[in-house]
């Protein structure tokens, strides 16, 4: 079996769904002849033609609006935001039109809006953001953040087949750094299911996206000190796998919530509330958060390095919590 990168896994997932279902098409900026800024749609124009791989003007709201219109007429659009940061330009179409159609008048909007999010590549304030929480706060949407090549492929396929609008954040730091052998059969990863990336007894870390690897690296170091981390990769934020989180916390009795997104209004706050509501009596220490600070994502290397949660942060907080 060939080793497949995260970015290639997304490409394969879209490609396979397009082969299988002629309603599926791609719409976005530079997705055609150029194959997408990160080459997620490379080669698709030649295979599927200009009416299924549609290059658009620079119009994020127009792209999502057009995807909604096509979906209303029975199509299955996959809209690309060249960078996830630009999804703010389409915020209204996503949150007011796509998210509310089914609730208001029973019209499902089976669209996928996907784009590269996250930092670590010196992209600066407008090419590094993690905008997931704007959408997690919008009932009617689903939000997924895959961390592995397997999940990237399985979740894009699940997202395309889903009858509701799915916002798919792919972490650009992982595009070519993460790879694995993928099964050759047709598989999906169900939306709303977490994965346990490492089984452990002492502390639960709940995380998603690129921070899964930060947690895994920290676990390797902490193992030498006899601190055994359990790592939950949420994979989906909306809906999210509450039982997987609670089961793990009930077992380890200590929890660290880790994400690359900024702290105020980040997903860790929601998780902390649920854990304290539903597993309070199992806790043997405070719920700890490790997140980016409440600033825009800075550009210069020392600034960005400061901004992003690091392995050393996880090690420090885990030691504190372990000693509690």
């Amino acid at each position: 079996m060939a080793v497949t990168t995260y970015v290639e896994a997304i490409r394969q997932g879209i490609w396979e769904e397009m082969e299988k279902d002629e309603r599926v098409f791609v719409i976005g900026e530079d997705v055609g002849i150029y194959g997408g800024a990160f080459k997620v749609t490379a080669g698709m124009l030649e295979r599927f033609g200009e009416w299924r791989i549609i290059d658009t003007p620079i119009s994020e709201s127009g792209i999502v609006g057009a995807a909604i219109g096509a979906a209303l007429m029975g199509m299955r659009p996959v809209a690309e935001m060249q960078f996830a940061d630009f999804i703010s330009c389409a915020f209204d179409q996503i949150t007011n039109f796509a998210a509310k159609c089914r609730y208001r008048w029973g019209a499902g909007i089976p669209i996928v809006v996907r784009g590269p999010s996250g930092g670590g590549v010196h992209g600066g304030p407008f090419h590094s953001q993690n905008p997931e929480m704007y959408f997690v706060h919008t009932p009617g949407l689903k939000v997924v953040c895959p961390a592995t090549a397997y999940d990237a492929k399985g979740l894009i396929k699940a997202a395309i087949r889903d009858p509701d609008p799915v916002i798919y954040f792919e972490h650009k730091f992982l595009y070519r750094r993460v790879k694995e052998e993928l099964p050759t059969d047709d598989f999906v990863v169900p939306i709303g299911k977490a994965a346990i990336r490492r089984k452990g007894a002492d502390i639960t870390i709940v995380t998603y996206g690129a921070m899964v690897y930060t947690a895994l690296d920290a676990a390797k170091e902490l193992e030498k000190e006899g601190i055994d981390l359990e790592i939950i990769d949420l994979r989906s934020l909306l809906p999210f796998d509450k039982e997987a989180v609670l089961d793990s916390v009930r077992k380890t009795n200590k929890v660290i919530l880790l994400h690359e997104d900024t702290q105020i209004g980040g997903f860790a706050g929601e998780l902390a509330a649920i854990i304290s509501e539903e597993a309070f009596e199992y806790l043997d220490g405070p719920i700890r958060r490790i997140t980016a600070p409440n600033t825009p994502v800075p550009y210069s290397p020392p600034l960005e390095e400061f901004f992003l949660p690091k392995v050393s942060d996880v090690i420090r907080v885990a030691r504190e919590l372990y000693a509690y």
Binding site: T56, P57, G65, R102, W105, D164
Partner: protein, 339 residues
């Protein structure tokens, strides 16, 4: 002038539609007016409709004249002053009234109010309050027709105010770039809430904007239903045969406030007087009478029939159940097993 390439002086004089179509137009315009009169002046004031109410009094010719000849498989994206579109597409009076009264039997089962209704089985797309949002959506509808080689057309309605929004420009641009089969219809009723046109845009006409996007624009008298029908028919035919979108600006006037609570005190009285003389229904009744297609007695009988239909629908809708409180939680996501 390039923006007027669809204008009447460049095409043969208007041929009237068949008599049956003319009489249908009269019915739907009068039905729209009476229905909205009951909604705004009766049911709302009686407290039977809560929240906001927006009507299109004086603008009835636009939706009726442009939708009357559409095919069932064409799509319509109405805005909030296009009641005629819903009626022509076959949404029943009872469903519409139940919608306004928040009943479970309304088009949104009580989830949304007033004109915010749609029905995919009728290719009617529900409006949202963010003006102009339906423009890129209509472009996408047209795109889906074009990519599948279907000869279907979408009609997209908006007011003059919506043309100031970014989404309007993105959608119009995209529709033109892709040459999709969409006809954009502007109800230019001169006011966006209390804001007059000159505060809305520095060009004289909404149709002038079409040229910047490379699509034909045409200005018509929106209170002349035959002119609306004529311009829409030409634009629809043009779109259906693969020549792309067009923008029709219907000059009209909002003969009410923005919504039922607004007395429109900011509108000069003379403007209402001027446009009252140009009432689309009275003009059309005169035209049909002059042509021997109707009589004052027949018009009165038609009015009685409409009143009766609406009375019946109000009675039925009032007896319809309100939603259960817990319905609040339903239908956020797909709840079935296969769609």
């Amino acid at each position: 002038m390039k923006t007027n390439i669809l204008a009447r002086d460049t095409v043969p004089p208007i041929t009237l539609p068949p008599d049956k179509t003319l009489l249908d137009m009269l019915y739907y315009m009068k039905l729209t007016r009476e229905l909205e009169f009951r909604i705004e002046r009766k049911l709302y004031r009686q407290g039977k409709i809560v929240g906001g109410v927006y009507v299109g009094r004086g603008q009835e010719a636009i939706a009726v004249g442009s939708c009357i000849d559409l095919r069932q498989d064409d799509a319509v994206c109405p805005s909030h002053r296009d009641m005629g579109a819903f009626l022509i597409r076959g949404m029943t009076l009872r469903t519409i009234l139940a919608q306004y009264m928040g009943r479970k039997t309304g088009a949104t089962k009580g989830k949304d109010s007033n004109m915010h209704m749609g029905d995919l089985s009728k290719n009617l797309v529900a409006f949202v309050s963010m003006l102009g949002d339906n423009v890129p959506v209509a472009a996408g509808i047209g795109l889906s027709f074009k990519m599948r080689g279907q000869d279907r057309v979408a009609l997209c309605f908006f007011g003059d105010g919506a043309t100031s929004r970014g989404d309007w420009h993105e959608g119009i641009n995209m529709a033109s770039v892709f040459k999709v089969p969409v006809v954009f219809i502007c109800n230019n009723n001169q006011y966006a809430y209390s804001t007059p046109l000159e505060r809305q845009m520095a060009v004289e006409n909404v149709a002038d904007r079409a040229e910047a996007y490379g699509m034909p624009g045409e200005i018509i008298d929106g209170n002349d239903i035959v002119a609306v029908w004529d311009a829409a028919s030409r634009a629809i035919e043009r779109a259906r045969s693969g020549h792309g979108p067009a923008l029709i600006e219907c000059k009209t006037f909002r003969m009410t406030g923005h919504s039922a609570h607004d007395d429109a005190g900011y509108v000069p009285h003379e403007l209402f007087e001027f446009w009252k003389e140009r009432d689309p229904i009275h003009r059309f009744e005169q035209l049909l009478t002059d042509r021997g297609l109707t009589t004052p007695t027949a018009i009165e009988e038609l009015q009685q029939r409409i009143n009766f239909e609406i009375d019946e629908a109000i009675q039925a809708a009032e007896k319809d159940p309100l939603p259960e409180p817990a319905d609040c939680l339903r239908d956020v996501y797909f709840e079935g097993t296969e769609e």
